[in-house]
């Protein structure tokens, strides 16, 4: 397939692996920020192909994993209101809240619908004027423009029965939170390609400089990841710490200005709790004053509570790269993708779910 098969080329992959092996002399720990990258590393079997000096740890960039449990509970509470249609991206449905998941709420009779775009949710609202439609707007900078656009469109078309339950998180503050942890093991980052498609990568320069870490904006296909790893390792071996862009076919330094304007139109920066990590200052977006009528939290008077998460789940340490899923006593035993105890086991982008499969492959003879 055009623009895909080129980035899945076996000969090119072997070539890049050879080059990585040729330059690596010391052990390095690299963190891929985005869950999509984790998924691709595992799906394509790349982790096992890398030289043993390179350890990949899996960052907090899985939106399913970092959405705090009280927001899941809010979504479930909303879905159970009469005349409510709750719309969500697919993989939020299985995430366990305090008691149940949205999928279970649906089984109990709530009208929960999977959509691929928030604009579909606006359409559903227009088609059901006598009902309330809430879109569960989660995600990083990547999904924010479309979520913001849905609010702008609803406002323009005077759709009064549409609102969003926003739980947006931002990558750079999370990277800083990880780096400022004295126990961090991360030597370099593969920054999330799609986030940078929207936001550009100007905001990473101060981080690279302050913490002396190479940051390579990286894509998601096997060749992208191998090239990103190569670029990061090369910097580390040369003692450099700068921001580089591997994903040049989509990412420009300044990002997508129009998308950023749409985000600014609707959202305001706020402190945000990350599941398993805690509250990180100025690490999220919430609906701003101008669009308050489209904020489900205000519209339905939801009271934001502090989450009381399952304390047996070590999601926070895993997402900061301090522990591997194997280090958790529950991993693969009472915590599996069918019955997850914590969020990293839920989404295929979550480190635990990815490792759940990888760990089995690990036991195989090579």
């Amino acid at each position: 397939m055009k623009y895909l098969s080129e980035y899945r080329d076996a000969a090119l992959a072997q070539e890049l692996l050879k080059e990585i092996k040729a330059i690596v002399t010391k052990p390095w720990t690299l963190m891929e920020v985005c869950g999509g990258q984790t998924h691709s590393l595992v799906k394509n079997g790349i982790l096992k192909m890398l030289p043993e000096q390179i350890t990949m740890v899996h960052g907090p960039g899985c939106p399913v994993c970092v959405t705090p449990i009280h927001i899941i509970d809010e979504a479930i509470e909303l879905s159970q209101k009469p005349h409510m249609i709750m719309c969500s991206f697919g993989d939020m449905l299985r995430v366990p809240g305090t008691k149940i998941s949205l999928l279970e709420a649906k089984a109990n009779g709530a009208d929960v619908r999977i959509v691929y775009s928030p604009l579909e949710a606006v359409k559903i609202a227009q088609e059901n004027p006598d009902r309330e439609v809430v879109f569960f707007a989660v995600g990083f900078e990547t999904t924010a423009p479309a979520n913001a656009l849905s609010v702008v469109q609803a406002a323009k078309q005077n759709v009064k029965n549409y609102s969003i339950l926003a739980s947006h998180v931002l990558v750079p503050p999370a990277m800083e939170a990880i780096l400022s942890d004295p126990e961090t093991t991360v030597n370099a980052f593969l920054a999330a390609g799609h986030v940078c498609t929207i936001m550009g990568y100007n905001e990473y320069d101060p981080i690279a400089e302050k913490y002396k870490v190479p940051i390579v904006v990286t894509g998601f296909e096997p060749i992208d990841l191998l090239q990103g790893i190569y670029m990061a390792v090369k910097q580390l071996e040369n003692g450099e710490a700068k921001v580089e862009n591997q994903y040049i076919r989509y990412v420009q330094r300044e990002g997508n200005i129009r998308a950023q304007q749409t985000i600014d139109e609707v959202f305001a920066v706020s402190d945000r709790e990350w599941r398993g990590i805690g509250t990180i200052p100025k690490s999220g977006w919430e609906v701003n004053e101008a669009y308050r009528k489209f904020d489900a939290r205000r519209k339905f008077n939801l009271v934001e509570e502090i989450s009381e998460d399952n304390t047996t789940c070590i999601a926070g340490e895993i997402m900061k790269g301090k522990k591997k899923p194997f280090d958790c006593p529950h991993f693969g035993k009472d915590c599996t993708p069918e019955r997850p105890l914590g969020s990293p086991m839920v989404s295929s982008e979550g480190a635990c779910a990815a490792y759940y499969h990888f760990s089995q492959a690990e036991a195989l003879p090579s």
């Binding site: 899945r8 992959a13 991206f89 799609h194 096997p222 069918e338």
Partner: protein
């Protein structure tokens, strides 16, 4: 395939009926039921056994018989490349074929929702007729019930199938041995993607059509030519190829290895799966099957399958290593476990 209505393509318009929609009366057993059956079901699907209009059909069998049943509850009932009626016939025909049987008879039970439009019912019925004729398998008995509006989803269909076992068939997972080759009879993931393309909220423009079709002809040709060297057959419907291979690994106690680049998939289907965030290995199929054959007979088996579909392929083999697990060699030379799906395949956020 043209998306024109079957009734137009078959030049078979809806007969004049008293009602435009199915009513509870059509399931009462009284006059309305009889009128619906006489002008509709019996007239369209007629054959000697069905014409008896008895409570059941009396059949003659000698020797081993395969027996299968399946219910069809698909939404939407009309989709690119077919409708629920064709699916219901082909599904049970294929389940018989996967047992190594020659499909011979089907039963047909409708559960209709009050308010179903008569012309939609007619299209479904014609779909059943078309599929039954194409497969050469008659409907010999059946039932029709109507439930209150809101208690069903337009139409549910159950079909049960009976078929004589092919004399050379010996299809059992426990006969599968390391070294056996795994063949797929055509490109994967078409049906599931075709359904998604018309599902409310997900509509996207595509020419992808469901692959629903009867599979007993290629299966019987394989059995004629290779007999006991055909060890295991399965059509990867719900859960897709990955699920069937996991079942094979579990049931046989051996390992399974597949090679990603050998798995046939159309560019359009692959593109749609990428866009929707779905793994094609888990997407449903209705017109392909997996065959496990002895290593020495893989080449002739492939030759037979390619007479029916040029994209048939040898996608992997059964191994001593990693028992009860399915491993895929990725295009770039990596390896990964292909596991069972934990629940529904849910599209990812980004």
């Amino acid at each position: 395939m043209s998306q024109q209505k079957l009734s137009i393509r078959l030049n078979c318009p809806l007969p004049k009926l008293d009602f435009d929609v199915i009513t509870l009366g059509h399931g009462s057993g009284g006059v309305l039921t009889h009128r619906l059956l006489d002008t509709g079901v019996f007239n369209v699907l007629k054959n000697d056994l069905l014409n008896e209009q008895h409570d059941g059909a009396v059949l003659n069998f000698n020797g081993p018989v395969a027996f299968t049943t399946d219910s069809y509850v698909i939404t939407p009932i009309f989709f690119p490349g077919g409708n629920i009626g064709e699916l219901a016939v082909n599904g049970s025909v294929n389940d018989l074929a996967m047992c190594g049987a020659i499909p011979q008879y089907l039963s047909l039970s409708f559960i209709l929702e009050e308010g179903l439009r008569m012309d939609e019912f007619w299209e479904v019925l014609l779909g059943i007729k078309k599929a039954s004729e194409e497969a050469g398998v008659p409907i010999v008995t059946g039932d029709t019930k109507v439930v209150d509006k809101g208690k069903g989803d337009k139409v549910f269909i159950n079909t049960t199938g009976l078929g004589r076992l092919h004399p050379k068939a010996n299809i059992h997972a426990n006969r599968v041995k390391p070294g056996d080759k795994i063949l797929v009879s055509g490109p994967v993931a078409q049906h599931g993607v075709a359904i998604l393309s018309v599902r409310q909220g997900l509509e996207f423009e595509t020419t992808i059509t469901s692959d629903t079709k009867p599979l007993h002809q290629p299966v019987l040709k394989l059995l004629d030519a290779l007999g006991e060297d055909v060890k295991f057959l399965r059509d990867p419907t719900r859960g897709g190829v990955a699920t069937v291979l996991n079942e094979l690994a579990t049931q046989s106690g051996h390992g399974v290895e597949i090679i990603q680049k050998e798995i046939p998939i159309s560019e359009q289907v692959e593109g749609a799966c990428e866009m929707l965030g779905l793994d094609p290995l888990y997407v449903a199929n209705e017109g392909i099957f997996l065959a496990i054959v002895s290593e020495s007979k893989a080449a002739p088996a492939l030759h037979i399958l390619r007479n029916f579909d040029p994209l048939a392929s040898i996608i992997g083999e059964v191994t001593h290593d990693h028992p009860r697990q399915v491993l895929q060699h990725s295009r770039i030379g990596g390896r990964r476990i292909v596991s069972m799906l934990p629940g529904e395949q849910l599209p990812r956020i980004c």
